[in-house]
């Protein structure tokens, strides 16, 4: 590791030195040599589940030597609702409600992944209009989710103001999503075969009002947080998840692209209206927290651009394919994935020919990001733990399911 603080390892300040991945931080360990002849002990800190910045109910077991993290272990499952099992007892058109509650900040993406899997099983042709509506709501939802990330990331580094500014934009977005879907968070809008409803009257002016101001606001937000020198010192070169490590841990989404890997489901495995849209995929280079920040800010710009394109080119036609009342796909096994706000959200669906899925597996990107965190955190300071949880944008609803 290039961290200069690592140089003191020989003096015994770091105790046992680098944490070898996979070793659980159990019990208090004694530093072998100690500092100035004094025997020192490592402290095990239980970060969460009740902690102000664990993004839901994450529990991090952190072994620290002073403020320096020696080992970190994520203890998950506090938000387990059994989504995968419940899906086996829901009809195909009802599973969307469960997917909403997985990654609850970007529900549309979960619904979309499931709907796509179900359509693959049934071999339904989805109308073009439905594709465009799916892309539109996806991008609106991605913006909303990234704004939550932006706000809470600022909170994690100690800044307070931008959180409420981000919430102002998110409020406008939720307003739009509510007008389209009827709900602010648990949309249940994307159904197998299409979407629930066409755009309501008057929502286009709302979206236009939003996109007209959003770009200028986004620049301001970028300057407010990203332009702050203290913030830059906090994130630049910290928490590096490089290309090899990111690929080895199976990261997707902004966390992977920050390391310079050009993988975006929207480009590589196109779905919905994305093949028809013109958008860039922002890339980072080193994979540190700063790159993750810039990639996500860039994604917000691209999302706003896509929303404008989608509104301009919105086709006419049916918003859903003709679907039977009770969906009974033929026997089979499929996997469909979308680019959610956090990475590749996928649904692996096994059907036995009945009206309920035989098995549904929910592939959430945050789980992999959390695993990578455990590996990256040792050597950083306690304050960086919080910052890193924020910068990888893990979503506990999706990890615990």
């Amino acid at each position: 590791m290039t961290d200069p603080r690592m140089d003191v390892t020989g003096v015994g300040l770091l105790g046992e030195g680098l944490h070898s991945p996979g070793e659980p931080p159990a019990g208090i360990r004694r530093a072998p040599e100690g500092v100035d002849g004094l025997t020192t002990e490592h402290l095990i800190i239980n970060m969460g589940p009740q902690h102000p910045s664990t993004h839901g109910v994450l529990r991090m077991l952190v072994e620290v030597d002073g403020e320096e993290v020696i080992a970190a272990e994520a203890s998950i499952g506090y938000l387990h609702r059994g989504i995968e099992k419940l899906a086996e007892h829901r009809r195909y058109d009802a599973v969307g409600t469960l997917m909403d509650r997985g990654d609850y900040v970007s529900g549309i993406h979960g619904e979309l992944a499931f709907a796509m899997a179900a359509e693959k099983l049934m071999e339904v042709e989805v109308p073009r209009k439905a594709h465009w509506l799916r892309s539109l709501t996806s991008e609106l939802n991605r913006l909303g989710s990234h704004l939550v990330w932006y706000g809470t990331f600022g909170l994690d580094t100690g800044a307070m103001g931008q959180f409420l500014y981000a919430m102002r934009e998110r409020e406008a977005l939720l307003d739009i999503l509510e007008a389209i879907t009827g709900q602010r968070m648990m949309f249940n809008y994307v159904r197998p075969g299409g979407v629930l409803a066409d755009l309501p009257v008057g929502v286009d002016t709302k979206i236009k009002a939003f996109t007209d101001t959003f770009d200028t606001y986004l620049e301001e937000y970028d300057q407010l947080l990203g332009g702050n020198e203290i913030f830059q010192h906090r994130v630049k070169g910290i928490g590096v998840i490089g290309r090899e490590k990111a690929l080895a841990f199976g990261l997707t989404g902004a966390n992977l692209r920050a390391a310079g890997v050009d993988f975006d489901v929207r480009k590589q495995i196109p779905y919905a209206a994305y093949p028809e849209l013109d958008f860039e995929v922002p890339l980072g280079s080193t994979g540190d927290a700063w790159d993750r920040y810039t990639v996500r800010m860039g994604e917000m710009r691209e999302s706003a651009r896509m929303i404008r394109q989608l509104m301009e080119g919105m086709p006419e036609g049916e918003h859903t394919a003709k679907m039977p009342k009770v969906i009974r796909p033929s026997e089979g096994e499929v996997y469909a994935s979308v680019e959610s706000s956090r990475g590749e959200t996928g649904v692996h669906l096994v059907s036995d020919g009945t009206d309920k899925p035989y098995r549904m597996h929910y592939h959430g990107p945050s789980l992999y990001a959390l695993q990578a965190l455990e590996d990256v955190l040792p050597g950083h300071l306690l304050a960086d733990v919080v910052m890193m949880i924020g910068s990888t944008d893990v979503m506990l609803g999706e990890i615990d399911r």
Binding site: E67, G158, M160, A383
Partner: protein, 333 residues
């Protein structure tokens, strides 16, 4: 008036200022932060929420005082007092006007910094006694940062002392009277040669009173509430009252050292003397508003970066500044 009665009255005056300050500043903080964050702040209790803080004080007073079983009871109980008392003592030397001050100390500057430097002991006690890992980390951070920044803070005011030729806070204000070029007030803050000193003072001052971006010892997103995690009811109230009070004292010190204390330029001296305390407190509140502005927007510095800034940058810089000021005073004065 007997000296005893006078001393008692002055004590209660200082206590009164501190308490009223606390209530006003908490309301102000909520309103300033509220408007910075495009919301309104308290609006329902009293006109524009003005009674909110008073009700909160009542709440704190009547709340159950929870003492966790594992704490070191003796230390846990006296720690809020150890934090509170020095902050009350610091009011003694503040020159509210040429006559309004509790004691006229020739070493007023040194005294104020000396009592303020007792605060981290209380915070460390609170952190240690709480038997909580977050509190311990908060206490340790407080001790580390305040010891580190006492040095640049004191060094940063030495150029002022050199130029003013006194450590009496009132004397420093007197030294800032008169005008440059006939119309620029003689405040040290308006002297470009003093700006580096002012900057060092502001940074070190913010660290010394645990304000954002240096609020390491509370750092709510990192270590929950730091040293105050296990405190509840009025013990918690005391800890935070003294924090607000320290904010006022640091701002008042800045006003005294750099912004002409109780005086305003271009008005007759009698007016200055008559309205001295009002002017002084108003100026101090402007300083506090700036601190709140910073608090509403800035992220937090990391502890190792803070230490590096203190020991490696601010101390050498302030030493150089003292040397340059000394040369300047010798050559010009």
């Amino acid at each position: 008036m007997s000296p005893v009665l006078s001393a008692v009255l002055k004590f209660f005056a200082a206590l009164g200022i501190m308490l009223v300050n606390g209530v006003v500043m908490i309301y102000m903080l909520r309103k300033v932060l509220g408007h910075l964050h495009i919301r309104l702040g308290p609006m329902h209790v009293g006109w524009k929420g003005t009674m909110q803080t008073l009700m909160d004080v009542l709440k704190l007073l009547t709340k159950e005082d929870v003492t966790p079983r594992a704490v070191d009871r003796w230390l846990f109980r006296i720690a809020p007092a150890v934090v509170f008392v020095p902050s009350l003592m610091a009011y003694a030397a503040l020159p509210f006007s040429n006559t309004w001050r509790i004691v006229d100390l020739d070493t007023g500057l040194l005294y104020t910094f000396a009592v303020l430097s007792l605060v981290p002991i209380g915070i460390l006690m609170a952190g240690w006694a709480s038997a909580n890992k977050w509190s311990l980390l908060g206490g340790m951070r407080a001790a580390a940062q305040q010891i580190a920044y006492e040095v640049p803070l004191l060094l940063s005011v030495l150029p002022v002392v050199l130029v003013a030729g006194t450590m009496n806070l009132g004397g420093i204000v007197e030294a800032q009277q008169g005008y440059w070029l006939g119309f620029i007030p003689g405040w040290f803050a308006l002297n470009p040669l003093m700006w580096p000193t002012l900057l060092v003072f502001m940074i070190a001052g913010l660290v010394e009173i645990n304000q954002t971006p240096f609020d390491m010892s509370e750092g709510e997103s990192e270590i929950v509430a730091g040293f105050a995690t296990e405190y509840s009811a009025m013990k918690f109230g005391l800890l935070f009252l003294s924090e607000f009070s320290n904010q006022f004292i640091m701002s008042a010190l800045g006003v005294t050292l750099f912004f002409g204390g109780w005086t305003l330029p271009w008005i007759p001296a009698e007016m200055n003397h008559a309205f001295g305390p009002v002017i002084f407190i108003a100026k101090a509140y402007i300083g506090i508003a700036v601190m709140m502005w910073i608090r509403g927007t800035f992220p937090r510095v990391r502890i190792d970066q803070l230490m590096e800034l203190g020991w490696k940058r601010l101390i050498p810089v302030s030493l150089v500044l003292i040397m340059l000021t000394g040369l300047f005073v010798k050559v010009v004065g």
